[in-house]
């Protein structure tokens, strides 16, 4: 066993883990903003599918994965707007609207693909970008600094999200609106607007996460391409206690376990495959169970806001 786990293999496991963590990280950071403002968006999976399709389709026809990224951001924003309209303006039950959005995204992406693409089609997606100098650092270089730009983006978004949430006025408003919207409202913070903004930003990141799957990993599209990753991202928001660093930790833990179990299977190390494939889930659940400390869920999570209601 020690023989097979040489440094090239370990680098491969870690580099793959970081790559696998990217869609979770993007989608979960987006969901974090949404939930921090008091709305949970269970439609992430559907938005990711639409983003995946949009990214794929734009890359296919415009020939540039960068345009694919932009397309996925736009589609994500539109999906977020739809969710905001239903759940914030019309105050529909958030869980149900989210599931509706998920089904809508799934159905629509499949339909558009059938209508405008047809069979399995490949695209040229994002290429790895070696960061000069840094990528030459032994061991760390190939793990961190030889990835595609969406991986770098996702990693950079972690401190950036923390900064936005804790240092900017907008972040302060978001935190207030998610915890006590009545209070924010009495101080002239526009609760509805903040929730719209968070849903849109969050959904853009979900769209980007979807695009990562098509133009950053698979280089093709197929129905149900997300295969549940959006829901895992939502779970990681809880795991990460609504904090960017917590979410980073959760995403890495889950993905490293996944990457590790794949390698264990591939190398034929004697380990039952059924256990191997559930390893990431087990590790994450165990970590969730043993991690302690107070859980600060946004207190107004899931509650539509209406000025002057009682009880």
């Amino acid at each position: 066993m020690e023989g097979v786990m040489n440094s090239a293999i370990i680098i491969s496991i870690l580099a793959t883990g970081i790559r696998l963590a990217t869609p979770y990280l993007l989608a979960a950071l987006g969901e974090m903003f949404t939930q921090r403002s008091g709305v949970y968006n269970l439609g992430v999976e559907g938005i990711m599918m639409m983003g995946a399709f949009a990214g794929f389709f734009a890359t296919l026809h415009l020939g540039s994965p960068l345009l694919g990224i932009i397309a996925s951001l736009i589609i994500g924003a539109l999906m977020g707007l739809l969710m905001a309209l239903v759940s914030v303006t019309f105050k529909a039950e958030q869980g149900i609207s989210g599931i509706g959005l998920y089904m809508f995204g799934w159905g629509l992406s499949g339909l558009l693909y059938r209508l405008y693409v047809g069979g399995i089609t490949s695209i040229d997606g994002l290429k790895e970008v070696k960061i000069p100098l840094l990528s030459n650092i032994p061991f760390l270089g190939p793990i961190f600094f030889n990835q595609n730009i969406l991986v770098y983006t996702a990693l950079a978004l972690v401190p950036l999200s923390g900064f936005i949430l804790y240092k900017t006025s907008w972040g302060l408003n978001v935190r207030a609106v998610g915890n006590k919207p009545e209070a924010a409202d009495t101080l002239g913070v526009n609760v509805v607007r903040i929730r719209y903004e968070c849903l849109i930003v969050g959904s853009m990141l979900a769209g980007l996460a979807g695009a990562f799957l098509t133009i950053g990993q698979a280089n093709m599209y197929a129905d149900n391409i997300t295969a549940g990753r959006g829901f895992i991202a939502i779970a990681l928001v809880y795991f990460g206690r609504w904090s960017p660093w917590g979410i980073l930790l959760g995403s890495l833990l889950f993905s490293m376990a996944d990457s590790f179990q794949s390698m264990v299977q591939v190398l034929g190390i004697n380990f039952p495959y059924e256990l191997a494939v559930i390893l990431p889930y087990v590790v994450t659940i165990v970590a969730l169970a043993i991690s302690f400390g107070r859980v600060w869920a946004p207190a107004a999570l899931g509650k539509p806001f209406q000025r002057g209601t009682r009880g």
């Binding site: 900017t168 302060l172 935190r175 207030a176 006590k180 009545e182 209070a183 101080l187 913070v189 009880g311």
Partner: protein, 503 residues
């Protein structure tokens, strides 16, 4: 800076809610530097009127003018811009933000929050009025009194020179109340106008210049404080003479009915909130628990009610050990319970009044026969309770959460007392309740005592404790400092014990 409010006038204000006329053609006026008190029974429409002034509700009729100019206040931010600040009956603070963040919330318009400058500015205000608060503390870490101060600073920081306070002292300890009164005086001396809503007549007398009394949504009196008295105000509010209740000194306690033996329990933060509490409540006595809230009162009520786990020690109710009983069993054993958080623990806000009134007995006769609800019995029972306890509601079907704060309280009292318990735990039962209802409640507790019920009364109101309790125990940091007959107590001694000082 906004134009200073020299004169406020609300004219002909009318506001309807489904089934209630909450304000009916109400007029009030106020000058700079004046303190106006608004009095009225629970549900009289005081909060509604203030919410209209603060832009949270729109009146159905009437208008508001400032310095002679008519204004339309569409939202709280417009009210803030006009120089109006409000401290709400239910605090409007974000617990997960720091004090400073709460104060500047909604004002910070730059991309980055400039906490340093903000802190300096907030500090200036706290210094000017002598308000001591740690600006970096999280609001959830603060006592209720400190939170109140944050609310005031928040309004001042926004340049408010008209400050509305909706029952600010209802949740304060006596010391905190006194500090607040001094602060308000100081503020009015500096030219600010203040509107104060309170049920505590002594405070009203102490601080206000003028009193407007509301009854059933209408103004029934507008008097200068100097020309009136507590008794006169009480009469105006309730419409009849009031006589404060006192216990009769005959005191024949029976056998112990509720006993706590060296009880330990953890609080929400995981520390020992109760650290070895031993108490005995006997039939036919009222035992008062004095103490500054946050010293284990909530946990004490909860362990007795079976809502919190006892980590060590033993509780005996009506001769049976109830330490590990489920709440439902404890209720069967004869415990009545009036919790601290009435809105969410004591009632189900979305349930109608009649549903809440039979919440604990809906499964047994006379309310149910063979698991069918007996509507006729329930309705007549409920409507008689609504009448007896003076619950102001448009109908029995109204969701309880829509009632005014004081009326929700009455629903619980009505239910718990009429269940004929052997022991009754009441946590702050008169907090936010008007004087009429307080008097009624006290008479009910005394009646329960006469009927042999053992009552545990948790309160911060020393006057309440000394007027109806037989014995008083002081709770400090989860421990009982001392238990003594009421005759041996006085305010000074209780005050010292409540601060943890033993002579």
């Amino acid at each position: 800076m906004v134009e200073k409010i020299q004169h406020l006038e609300m004219h002909g204000i009318t506001k309807r809610f489904p089934g209630v006329l909450s304000n009916n053609n109400v007029n009030i006026h106020l000058d700079a530097g004046e303190v106006l008190a608004i009095l009225g029974e629970n549900g009289a429409g005081k909060t509604t009127l203030m919410n209209i002034l603060y832009g949270l509700y729109q009146p159905d009729a009437g208008n508001i003018s400032l310095n002679g100019k008519k204004v339309k206040i569409n939202s709280p931010s417009e009210a803030i811009q006009l120089g109006i600040g409000m401290v709400h009956q239910h605090f409007m603070l974000v617990p997960t933000l720091t004090v400073c963040e709460n104060v500047i919330l909604g004002l910070s318009k730059t991309f980055l929050v400039d906490l340093k400058t903000a802190k300096k500015q907030v500090q200036e205000i706290t210094d000017k009025y002598g308000l001591a608060i740690n600006l970096d503390a999280y609001v959830w870490q603060l006592s209720v009194g400190e939170q109140q101060r944050v609310e005031i600073v928040k309004a001042l920081y926004r340049g408010a020179n008209l400050l509305i306070l909706d029952e600010p002292t209802a949740v304060l300890t006596p010391q905190e109340s006194n500090e607040l009164i001094l602060l308000l005086k100081n503020m009015s001396n500096q030219g600010n106008s203040i509107i104060l809503i309170s049920h505590k007549l002594n405070e009203v007398m102490a601080i206000s210049d003028r009193v407007t009394v509301l009854r059933d949504g209408e103004v029934c009196a507008d008097v200068n404080t100097l020309e009136t008295s507590q008794e006169a105000l009480a009469r105006l509010m309730v419409g009849r003479d009031m006589a404060p209740c006192r216990r009769d000194s005959e005191f024949f306690p029976g056998k112990p009915i509720l006993e706590l033996q060296d009880v330990f329990a953890k609080g929400d933060m995981g520390t020992d909130a109760l650290a070895g509490v031993s108490l005995t409540i006997r039939e036919g006595e009222i035992l008062g628990i004095a103490g500054v809230s946050g010293n284990g009162q909530k946990e004490l009520a909860e362990v007795i009610g079976g809502l919190r786990k006892v980590s060590k020690g033993k509780i005996v109710l009506n001769g049976k050990e109830s330490t590990k009983m489920a709440p439902a069993r404890i209720i069967e054993q004869g415990l009545g319970y009036i919790p601290e958080d009435r809105l969410h623990v004591g009632t189900i806000p979305s349930f109608s009044i009649w549903e809440n009134l039979i919440l604990k007995d809906h499964h047994q006769p006379p309310f149910a026969k063979r698991s069918l609800l007996q509507n006729r019995v329930i309705m007549s029972h409920s409507s008689s309770l609504v009448e007896k306890y003076g619950i102001k509601t448009p109908s029995l079907e109204t969701p309880t959460g829509r009632l005014s704060g004081g009326n929700i309280q009455r629903v619980i009292l009505a239910r718990e007392i009429t269940r004929n318990p052997v022991a009754l735990v009441a946590a702050y039962p008169t907090r936010g309740v008007d004087i009429g209802a307080t008097e009624y409640l006290h008479s009910k507790l005394l009646e329960a005592r006469r009927n042999g019920i053992g009552v545990l009364l948790i309160s911060e109101d020393l006057e309440e404790l000394t007027s109806i309790c037989d014995r008083i125990a002081v709770l400090y940091e989860g421990k009982i400092m001392k238990v003594m007959p009421v005759e041996e107590t006085d305010e000074r001694l209780l005050g010292l014990l409540m601060a943890g000082i033993v002579e």
